[in-house]
């Protein structure tokens, strides 16, 4: 299965093909494997250099697992992850040995959701920031110190903070530290796992603006995991929608929001609170529960909750295919071609005050 964006090959920084991660479910004294949680299954997409790719979906759908596979935090069950390395070639990064992984860390970094848990409380800001440089034996201690100061400037923190410990910072400041630590190695790709979910709206706005400034200044590429679709609409260029471990839609952000092709995407969009009381709308209420990845439904995983389902949806799993010849959007739905689904209102539909 080829992902659509592979056509523009030279733009591609990361290419994921048929990615799988199955966690064994073990029971009993001898820990016999009695089944698998298919946390990530048949996931294929590509990320272009300089873009922000959004990944959205319900809790437990496999977003973090996808991120950790790209980071090579654990081995894949199947599939390939190709990264454009310094050589200029796309190289498979699955199954690297520990020495090769060490070099990979210079190119891919991660920003975590919880700015409280992700910083070691016993390290000063100086140590936190220079630690990656020390591990990679980059620069003299003066050079490292200078770089740490540069990073603080870049993320909008005062240089005096170098001697402080994380507990003396607010949530927003800690998230700035987390970002500084991720970019100090000058990575190409930064994987952000819900970077603003734990922050207040005003702080969230500051961090989103910061991420955007850094992208312009340093030419970063982001994979941006989020459950807040308003944030995704704001920062992402393209969006992947996951449901129970699989991609169900992949499209340019404007297209996805204005003309969703998968009923699950439509339901997600319909559920987002619209921050304008004059646009209160009829919602599509999804019945049922989020499917269990250890025991997914037959046919299309979404069929038990889908209002558009036909007989085929209960028995046959749809392929992840191009929506039509003339787009690069991909969708996994038997009825994608015939359905006309509802997106979010655009400026044109808004009542003028």
């Amino acid at each position: 299965m080829q992902s659509a964006a592979a056509v523009h090959d030279e733009q591609v920084l990361l290419k994921v093909d048929d990615l799988k991660k199955y966690f064994p479910i073990r029971r009993g004294f001898i820990k016999r494997t009695i089944g698998h949680v298919k946390a990530v299954d048949e996931v294929s997409f590509s990320v272009r250099a300089g873009e922000t790719l959004g990944v959205v979906g319900e809790s437990g759908c496999g977003k973090t697992t996808t991120a950790r596979l790209i980071m090579q935090a654990f081995p894949v069950t199947g599939g390939t992850i190709q990264l454009r390395r310094n050589s200029g070639n796309l190289e498979d990064i699955t199954g690297l040995n520990s020495r090769e992984l060490y070099f990979l860390r210079r190119e891919i970094q991660m920003v975590f959701q919880d700015p409280y848990a992700s910083l070691n409380p016993r390290m000063t800001v100086r140590d936190l920031l220079t630690e990656p440089l020390v591990i990679h034996r980059i620069g003299t201690s003066q050079e490292r110190e200078r770089r740490a100061r540069e990073m603080l400037d870049l993320v909008g923190l005062q240089q005096e903070y170098l001697n402080r410990y994380p507990h003396a910072f607010s949530g927003g400041q800690r998230q700035r530290l987390g970002i500084a630590r991720a970019i100090i190695m000058n990575p190409k790709l930064v994987v952000c796992d819900e970077p603003v979910s734990a922050l207040d709206v005003s702080v969230q706005a500051q961090i989103l603006n910061l991420l955007e400034d850094l992208q312009t200044e340093l030419g970063l590429t982001y994979i941006f995991i989020a459950h807040d679709l308003s944030v995704v609409r704001h920062v992402c260029d393209r969006v992947a929608v996951m449901y129970v471990g699989k991609l169900v839609e992949f499209a340019e952000v404007e297209l996805l929001f204005s003309k969703p092709k998968h009923p699950y995407t439509e339901a997600l969009l319909s559920a987002v609170p619209v921050s304008n009381p004059s646009l209160r709308k009829e919602r599509i209420m999804l019945g049922g529960e989020v499917a269990d990845p250890a025991n997914p439904p037959s046919g299309c995983y979404f069929h038990p909750r889908c209002t558009y389902k036909k007989a085929i949806c209960e028995t046959e799993e749809p392929e992840f295919t191009l929506v039509s010849e003339d787009t690069t959007s991909m969708v996994r739905c038997h009825r994608a071609a015939e359905l006309s689904l509802k997106g979010v209102p655009s400026v044109r539909d808004m009542p003028q005050p």
Binding site: E58, L208, S230, V235, S275, N276, S278, V344, S346
Partner: protein, 343 residues
């Protein structure tokens, strides 16, 4: 400063706070978590309470139930007038702590939904047993009927197979289901006032939408007043009829929801509005931000609490004198010197 007490003149008013102050005495000093707030709500209102982390939303909710006492807090000043089901108006602020009167209000006339659903249920009884207990406490009905009612309530909060789940223990439900079960329990006594503190932040958007819809439907059906605490302005826009904006323990603006979004007055309300990314409409690339950060509630700035971060700060006025809530139009009040607020 004398304010009119509305609850005595308008039978639709359920709750009226007058100059409520709640403090925590700590070793580091006095935390003025709720610093003199006044508002009223009616039986047809869903009142949204918004404000950044630490502004006193949760403490305000716990003050109304007087559950701040066991938290180490104290209602230091002001009144909390509440109209009981029998029409009688009581001042909750003056009731003895943990007394019989308070206990008879909690869970039967005023219910609260917490952010963390695990704390609301006891792990050793089934969900059904716990909901039935609430029902039979206030309605003398046989247990078969109470169980049927519990199943009905679980069904109404969209828990699949409620007739099975009624016999489940809390740990056997997923986080989202537990949250819904807690809402079912809170609503099963048909309270007059429901205080929901971030009831959907732990939930997925699709489930959140279901729960919010359900709460509005039940509000209409039972003529119940809802106070909905959240930091999500989108949730407020979808659900609330009126909005209270809090900053550092004070109310800076109160207005009908349409007014807050189309005609915000306080610089803080305006700034909050501009800082949220929107799912609808045009996407501007830069979000507006509020400079600086929220000061600590131990060190509330003099004058208007927002003045150090305000774009329209007037020296000699805003940093010296405290603005009071000024009425702009029927339901729109704002505490800001730009609008002449003050004594």
């Amino acid at each position: 400063m004398t304010q009119p007490i509305r609850i005595h003149n308008d039978p639709g008013v359920i709750l009226e706070l007058l100059n409520l102050r709640t403090v925590f005495e700590t070793r580091g000093g006095t935390v003025r978590a709720v610093n003199g707030i006044s508002f009223y709500t009616r039986n047809d209102t869903v009142l949204g309470v918004v404000g950044e982390s630490g502004c006193g939303k949760t403490v305000m909710a716990h003050s109304i139930l007087r559950t701040v006492d066991p938290m180490g807090g104290k209602v230091a000043d002001g009144n909390i007038f509440f109209r009981r089901k029998n029409g009688e108006v009581v001042d909750i602020a003056s009731l003895p702590s943990e007394g019989r009167q308070l206990r008879s209000l909690r869970g039967s006339e005023i219910s609260m939904i917490f952010q963390e659903p695990m704390t609301a249920f006891s792990p050793v009884y089934t969900i059904g047993q716990q909901i039935m207990e609430v029902i039979t406490l206030h309605q003398k009905i046989p247990s078969r009927q109470a169980k049927a009612k519990a199943i009905e309530m679980l069904g109404r909060v969209s828990i699949p197979k409620p007739e099975v789940r009624v016999d489940a223990y809390p740990h056997q439900l997923s986080g989202g289901m537990r949250q819904r079960a807690m809402i079912a329990m809170a609503l099963s006594c048909q309270p007059k006032l429901l205080i929901a503190d971030e009831p959907t932040t732990a939930l997925d958007v699709t489930i959140q939408a279901q729960i919010l819809e359900l709460m509005v439907a039940l509000q209409r059906e039972f003529e119940m007043n809802i106070i909905m605490i959240t930091h999500d302005l989108g949730v407020i826009a979808e659900l609330a009829t009126d909005v209270v904006v809090m900053y550092l323990g004070s109310i800076v603006e109160k207005a009908p929801v349409g007014e807050v979004y189309s005609n915000p007055k306080h610089p803080y309300t305006k700034a909050l509005q501009e800082s949220i990314p929107r799912v609808e409409g045009s996407v501007s690339k830069k979000l507006a931000t509020i400079s600086g950060s929220v000061p600590s509630a131990k060190n509330i700035p003099p004058g208007c609490p927002f003045h150090p971060r305000c774009r329209e700060f007037m020296q000699g006025q805003c940093d010296v004198h405290v603005p009071t809530l000024e009425t702009l139009s029927a339901d729109h009040t704002v505490a800001c010197w730009l609008y002449g607020g003050g004594e």
